[in-house]
């Protein structure tokens, strides 16, 4: 019994310590807000553009001293990541960078994020933002679809946006930001099919699902169009965070003759790119411009402008033009594209890609989206 008492006391003491730490901020609720406001605007200033944003800070500071609750006139945007976390070098990170850029450019936005560790955290994190009165909650990834739907139904006045999911499109307070991943994957497939010398290319996917399969279907269609007798080695890593697994899979493909490998596997793909760099073959990145991971070996990336989508919907909330439903981001509006780093792509290949891109935008060609239309796709 003494031990329980002892341990309970220890917890009290620890919390007491935390209280001492917290003691430096006054205990009234209004006060921390006023002290916090300048700090949050300070962070992006020092990292992004010091000169241009200095002015808003000085104008902001007096405001906070006059008005007791400056947060009320801020547009508060909360972002909930999926289990990949905010540094996934993929769409969570891109979305967050987009929001940070938005805040740096327009300080009336206040952006925050919450990371999810498990499936059960989605609801908790969404509720944290609801309780704190955020204007818009952006849920990153289709994994959050059910949690978003539940929260959106229970809180009809709360605005939501979700990336890569269209199942909530019937709710008036959820904006579904969809990307034509098959179009971007098709373009990188054309590149892979054109530059392969061994006529063998590789593809690593993070998980088998209808959304994820679009990457593979688009890619394989592109490869086979550029090089009809090419072989596409395919692997389902069944993980988005398994760097060594990605590395092993890519090495295996390389020993089987692959000389270009595309991945749609989040963190697992970092292993794929590492293996390609070690073996001196081409890698193709996904979601963001991944050339920075290995500038000499990443030939291009299939970009999804999740950052632009997150900014657009945030701006719509500010302008009062927000509405629920499906928003489609594809080649025609720049929502998906080849990455801007294209120095390694030969001139004639770029030309082919641009032609096909123009065809798709003009509606002359539609990239297949179902397994039935792409028999070469093997992952099931």
């Amino acid at each position: 019994m003494k031990k329980i008492l002892a341990l309970t006391l220890s917890i009290c003491l620890v919390l007491g310590l935390a209280a001492c730490g917290g003691g430096s901020t006054p205990t009234t609720t209004a006060a921390p807000e006023t002290t916090k406001a300048p700090e949050t605007t300070k962070a992006p200033e020092t990292t992004k553009a010091p000169e241009t944003t200095k002015a808003p800070e000085t104008t902001k500071a007096p405001e906070t001293t006059v008005a007791p609750a400056p947060t009320s006139d801020k547009i508060k945007i909360g972002m909930v990541t999926d289990v990949g976390g905010v540094n996934d070098k993929s769409f969570n990170q891109t979305s967050w960078e987009g929001l940070q850029a938005l805040q740096a450019e327009d300080p009336t936005f206040e952006v925050k994020y919450l990371e999810s560790k498990t499936d059960a955290d989605y609801q908790t994190n969404i509720n944290t933002f609801i309780d704190d009165g955020y204007d818009l909650i952006i849920c990153v990834g289709y994994m959050l679809a059910d949690a978003t739907k539940e929260a959106a139904t229970a809180n009809p006045d709360q605005k939501f946006a979700i990336i890569d999911d269209a199942t909530c499109a019937d709710l008036p307070n959820v904006a579904c930001l969809m990307f034509a991943q098959e179009e971007a994957s098709y373009l990188v497939g054309l590149v892979a099919g054109s530059v392969t010398k061994s006529k063998t290319v590789g593809y690593v996917q993070g998980m088998v699902s209808d959304t994820m399969n679009l990457f593979g279907i688009g890619y394989i269609t592109g490869v086979l169009e550029a090089c009809p007798d090419a072989k596409v080695l395919q692997y389902n890593a069944n993980a988005f965070g398994d760097i060594p697994g990605g590395q092993t899979a890519a090495k295996d493909m390389i020993t089987k003759g692959a000389d270009v490998i595309y991945h749609a596997a989040g963190g697992t793909g970092i292993g794929v790119i590492n293996a390609c760099a070690e073996e001196g073959i081409w890698a193709i990145g996904v979601d963001t411009d991944q050339a920075s991971l290995s500038p000499e070996h990443v030939i291009t990336s299939a970009m999804k402008r999740v950052d632009v989508a997150a900014q657009d919907i945030s701006k719509a909330v500010k302008a009062g033009t927000y509405k629920g439903g499906e928003y489609k981001y594809d080649l025609s509006n720049g929502g998906v594209d080849l990455a801007p780093t294209r120095t390694h792509i030969p001139e004639d290949v770029l030309k082919l890609v641009e032609e096909k891109k123009a065809d798709i935008i003009a509606g002359k060609y539609k990239v297949p989206t179902t397994v039935a239309d792409c028999p070469a796709f093997e992952l099931k």
Binding site: L7, L15, L17, G22, S24, T25, E39, K112, E115, Q123
Partner: protein, 385 residues
């Protein structure tokens, strides 16, 4: 006798002090990292405290702590009985999957029947997962730590496989199982939650955790079984010499330990989770249990307190992003606490050694002066009268 008790008292207070000190150091080192990163320590720890001191926050803490209390009990129980249950992770996973499958397939059963059935299925699955490893150990002498680490992965992929089966898999786009039947959920009623202002996922799983805690305490301290298990844990050769079936004890210990972890899995899925996602990485409830058992001195009541502490850090920590601090700060704090508790065990042993030597010296002194002995005794008798 009086003197002996006071020594026990000192030791227990010292252990408590060591843990307290370890926790303090953990927070100090966390503060150091915050300072290096240029984040206000007051903001970060203030947020941590703010988020767990409201009614809603406290209910979240309880919800987050429940599974960790169970895995903590599981590991604590195994520590007492001389096996290191690093497999609580896997047992938790198969337990939660067993509860989920029961909750989905038998969803039409009435609540009073379905809930115990889910608990039973989970405990059985966890126990079986523990017994398999125990069998490998007792039959062929396969190291249980290695086998358990592998069994964690088998559980991980088994769970992902089952989650993808038709009839179990989510019918929408989610990479998860279906949500289990409302009849299998342990959630409090919506009106209670609204009236008291609790977390939307508030559930009565904590009562099961408290029950499990009392049961573990009872088994370990009050039963022959517990005595036998502890005897095997302290010295299995001596226990065998004393007529205790060592293999049977190991199997029993792992079965009970596994059942506890499995129950933790059931409480998580029937309470907060509602469904199991297709994992992309281990969720760490079992590994968290090891930390809880360490902080809780492998004591059932300690596991409760440590579980709540861990739950508070996990929930409060998830909000650190809001003040610009990384959630990984929590891992730094917990890692430091575990490190310093491990060191404190070494210190305690050193201290214990010194004390033992001192006792020997004292006794020698007492023997050297036999004349003083009877006098003291008589004075004690006088006191008693």
């Amino acid at each position: 006798m009086k003197q002996k008790r006071s020594v026990v008292e000192i030791i227990s207070t010292m252990r408590f002090l060591h843990i307290l000190l370890a926790i303090l150091i953990g927070f100090l080192i966390g503060a150091g990292f915050l300072a290096i990163m240029g984040i206000s320590v007051g903001d970060a720890y203030g947020k941590l405290l703010d988020s767990v001191t409201t009614v809603k926050g406290l209910s979240y803490v309880v919800v987050y702590a429940t599974p960790y209390i169970l895995t903590g009990l599981s590991v604590a129980f195994s520590f007492k009985t001389g096996v290191f249950n690093i497999g609580a992770e896997g047992q938790f996973v198969v337990g939660s999957m067993a509860a989920a499958v029961t909750g989905i397939l038998l969803g039409n059963l009435p609540k009073p029947l379905l809930i115990p059935l889910c608990f039973l299925a989970a405990m059985l699955a966890g126990a079986v997962w523990g017994i398999i490893v125990g069998f490998l150990k007792t039959k062929w002498g396969i190291n249980e730590v290695l086998a358990m680490i592998m069994f964690n992965w088998i559980a991980f992929y088994l769970s992902n496989y089952i989650a993808g089966l038709p009839g179990i898999k989510n019918t929408g786009t989610a990479e998860a199982t279906q949500t289990i039947s409302e009849n299998a959920r342990t959630l409090l009623s919506k009106s209670t939650i609204a009236d008291l202002g609790l977390a939307p996922t508030a559930n009565w799983g904590i009562l099961m955790a408290l029950g499990a805690m009392l049961l573990v305490w009872f088994i370990i301290d009050k039963t022959t079984l517990g005595y036998e298990l502890k005897a095997v844990g302290s010295n299995k050769f001596a226990a065998e010499y004393g007529g205790i079936g060592v293999n049977k004890s190991i199997l029993t210990a792992l079965a009970i330990s596994g059942a506890l972890a499995g129950l933790g899995g059931a409480l998580q899925v029937m309470g907060m989770g509602g469904r199991i996602s297709i994992f992309s990485s281990q969720e760490g409830f079992g590994f968290g249990g090891i930390v809880v058992a360490l902080i809780g001195c492998s004591n059932p009541f300690g596991a409760l307190a440590a579980g709540l502490f861990y739950g508070a850090l996990t929930y409060g920590g998830s909000k650190l992003n809001l003040v610009g601090a990384p959630t990984q700060l929590i891992s730094v704090i917990i890692g430091t606490v575990v490190f310093f508790i491990a060191i404190s065990v070494v210190l305690e042993r050193l201290g214990g050694g010194l004390r033992a030597r001192k006792n020997v010296i004292n006794r020698e002194d007492a023997e050297k002066a036999p004349a003083g002995g009877p006098q003291k005794e008589s004075s004690k008798e006088g006191d008693a009268q």
